[in-house]
């Protein structure tokens, strides 16, 4: 009998891990003093938010005696942070009061009842008028209420190394107009310096959502269907069976099979971006890659990979569309701050949020983190405009940028896209097979009613 039970216990370990979703580190102090918990990401390479919250903590505690701000930084990649945050919301004991929230998960998390609707608070906050239209829209839930306030936005550009391209005989400033131009550059760099990585293309599940934002979507949104290539905005359905999807996967296939990118095994390392910023570009071993507007933040003084010469050695331009239609492609995302629906002190939580997003604090955050400002008064500040030589170039991309369809199914779809690109980059599937598998995944996620054949 004892052995039978032992067996059952063992088999249950995993089951228990899957279903026992309650967290375990709540600091539920029973006293008059109130505690405000704040959850966010802090890693070696991302400390700007920690700096911001440390400042606001002091400010807030001075203004509200008796209230302790408990900062709960999570040292994890974005995807793991989002999972952990969602799990912590499942119990009022563990749900944070204020937290760092990705724009793509706002709708899903609002529908799940994790986020507090902020409409009444925002109506009384005079600074709300300073936020751009796009930033306000980003915080909307499916029901039309606002659930989160934007910290800043970003765009994606094609960043290239001037010395590497010039050594390969490519004149700079480089302005590729089609995918073929990018591939030609990669071939030229490969010929001139076989040791260099000509064109790093983020792909697969290793780099998570970054693979899509700084990789596949830049391709997909530049195919025939343009901004509707992933999600058909008119019908509100997810696109399957499109030519563009296969074309974009074929580009991924070409880049990896021709050896233009880092080999698949290295590209799948979740920390590969650190070697892109920290080693490949500064050491002149990388031709180009698609990266965010926040790129300079790693190289500026005080950044994670200080490299003062970047201002002269790097160039940024829009990533081209497949056939050269339009001015190029960019993707935008951004993170926000939100208040937990289970918060017992929502008034204090919102006050903390407004302090963190005040003009002064916003300015120092967007400058330190090279974000694109969403507050009009911050965007007009000279110290913001002069914070790095690329602010103008990446801000221009706002004109042509795309936002992800932030429906509640988005995160599952995003994971399906990552799987498709991983299958292609590793050579496990052809682009057609991977696209077919993606179509099946999408149908199983949103149902037959949620897809449209294009």
């Amino acid at each position: 009998m004892r052995r039978t039970l032992r067996t059952t216990t063992t088999a249950l370990v995993v089951t228990g891990a899957l279903i026992g979703v309650a967290g375990c580190s709540a600091a539920g102090e029973e006293s008059d003093d109130q505690t405000l918990t704040v959850s966010y990401i802090r890693t070696d390479a991302f400390t700007a938010l920690d700096t911001l919250f440390q400042t606001v903590k002091t400010e807030f505690e001075d203004a509200n005696p008796g209230v302790t701000v408990e900062l709960q930084p999570v040292s994890a990649p974005d995807e793991d942070y989002k999972t952990r945050l969602a799990l912590s919301h499942r119990s009022a004991e563990t749900a944070p009061d204020v937290f760092y929230q990705d724009t793509t998960t706002i709708r899903a998390d609002a529908e799940a009842g994790y986020l507090l609707a902020l409409d009444d608070y925002l109506a009384e906050w005079e600074d709300w008028g300073q936020f751009s239209e796009a930033a306000r829209t980003a915080g909307l839930g499916t029901d039309g209420s606002t659930y989160a306030v934007s910290l800043g936005t970003d765009t994606r550009a094609l960043w290239y190394s001037i010395p590497v391209l010039e050594a390969a005989g490519i004149p700079t400033p480089w302005e590729p107009e089609t995918w073929q131009d990018v591939l030609d550059m990669a071939e030229a760099v490969q010929t001139s310096d076989p040791e260099a990585v000509p064109f790093m293309l983020y792909s697969g599940t290793g780099t998570g959502e970054g693979s899509n934002m700084q990789g596949f979507y830049q391709l997909l949104y530049g195919t025939e269907l343009g901004g509707d290539a992933l999600f058909d905005s008119e019908s509100g359905k997810w696109v399957v069976g499109s030519e563009g999807f296969v074309d974009a996967l074929e580009f991924v296939d070409t880049v990896y099979s021709e050896g233009y990118s880092l080999p698949a095994d290295q590209a799948l390392d979740p920390n590969v971006w650190q070697s892109v910023f920290g080693e490949l570009f500064p050491e002149g071993r990388l031709g180009a890659t698609i990266e965010g507007s926040y790129t300079p933040s790693f190289w500026v003084e005080g950044g994670s990979f200080e490299w003062p010469e970047y201002a002269d050695q790097m160039g940024a331009t829009a990533f081209p569309t497949k056939n050269g239609d339009g001015e190029g492609v960019s993707m935008s995302g951004g993170w926000t701050l939100a208040v937990g629906a289970a918060s017992e002190i929502p008034d204090l939580a919102f006050e903390f949020l407004t302090m963190a997003l005040s003009k002064e604090n916003s300015l120092s955050y967007v400058t330190e983190n090279s974000q694109i400002a969403v507050r009009a008064d911050v965007a007009a500040e000279p110290s913001y405009l002069e914070s790095n030589p690329f602010v103008g170039a990446v801000t221009e991309l706002v004109e042509i940028t795309n936002f992800r369809p932030a429906t509640s199914d988005y995160n599952q779809i995003s994971a399906a896209v990552q799987n498709a690109t991983e299958a292609v980059m590793t050579g496990q599937s052809t682009p057609e097979e991977a696209a077919a598998a993606y179509d099946r995944d999408v149908e199983s996620i949103v149902g037959a009613d949620g897809i449209i054949e294009r």
Partner: protein, 282 residues
């Protein structure tokens, strides 16, 4: 009556999670979205989806390969051989050898997983050793992911089988093997005809324990390969984790976990049968 507290504990900590797992797998619960807080009943839809999912047979196959190679063959056979060799080895040699084997076992799983990762990774110990003798390594975790996790699990888990077999071997009456020796049986014959039949019960118990431990191995695989590249090493626990926490479909992940529960139960029944027969033979 004295059994009541024990039964209560069992109901809470064993039966509870099983029932919860089964119930959860019949809903559409997700990590976020409208079905996160108020899931609906969907009947057997998750199981239908699982059976139709082309990833499932692959994952099932990888789980079987991993379990058979690393537990049934690797840990079990190697553990027995090490234990048997020790009965004949010099005491100091035996102490040092068992220390080395047990070392891997006492490490917390996460530490053992990082050690194995550091050993097999591109710039890892294995490739550095190969470089010393002039061979060029490979990114083993990427090119042969299953082999690396099987070897890592053998390395980590052999100590358990070794300890079980050492205890059992010390209980084999020496007069039986001595009698066989006098009758002219050689070493191999004494092992196969006398020692192994006496250990049949221990072998069945050990097989059951290592099989069930290995079926549920998660940390080791997740740290080393995360189920990748693609899904080339995504055994059922990793597959369940990815579905539940990466894709956010808690219910579907739970359905996979329930299937694992059934597989574990089937294995246990088989082993218990063998065990009963071994005991009846005595």
């Amino acid at each position: 009556m004295p059994l009541l507290p024990a039964l209560l504990l069992l109901a809470v900590f064993l039966l509870g999670p099983i029932v919860w797992s089964i119930v959860g797998s019949l809903t559409n619960a997700t990590l976020t979205g409208a079905s996160a807080t108020s899931p609906d009943w969907v009947g057997l839809a998750n199981y239908e989806r699982l059976l139709a999912d082309p990833d499932f047979p692959l994952s099932l196959w990888l789980t079987v390969v991993f379990t058979v190679l690393s537990a049934v063959v690797g840990q079990n056979v190697l553990g027995f051989l090490v234990a048997f060799a020790m009965t004949r080895a010099d005491r100091r040699v035996a102490t040092i050898a068992s220390g080395a084997v047990i070392g891997a076992w006492v490490l917390p799983e996460i530490v053992a997983a990082f050690v194995a990762y550091a050993f097999f990774s591109r710039d890892g110990t294995l490739n550095q050793l190969l470089a010393v003798i002039g061979l060029e390594g490979d990114n083993w975790l990427f090119t042969v992911p299953m082999l690396t996790i099987v070897l890592a699990n053998v390395w980590r888990g052999t100590a358990f089988s070794m300890l079980v077999y050492r205890a059992a071997l010390s209980e084999v009456p020496p007069e039986l093997t001595e009698a066989a020796q006098i009758d002219g049986a050689n070493g191999w014959q004494r092992l196969v005809r006398v020692t192994v039949p006496l250990l049949r019960g221990t072998i069945a118990t050990n097989l059951m324990l290592v099989t069930l431990q290995t079926l549920s191995v998660f940390t080791l695989i997740y740290v080393m390969t995360a189920g990748g590249p693609g899904n080339a090493s995504a055994t059922l626990p990793v597959y369940a984790y990815q579905e539940a926490f990466r894709f956010g479909s808690i219910a579907f992940g739970t359905a996979i976990a329930t299937v694992m529960l059934v597989i574990g139960a089937v294995f246990s029944i088989v082993y218990i049968r063998i065990l009963n027969r071994a005991e009846a033979d005595r």
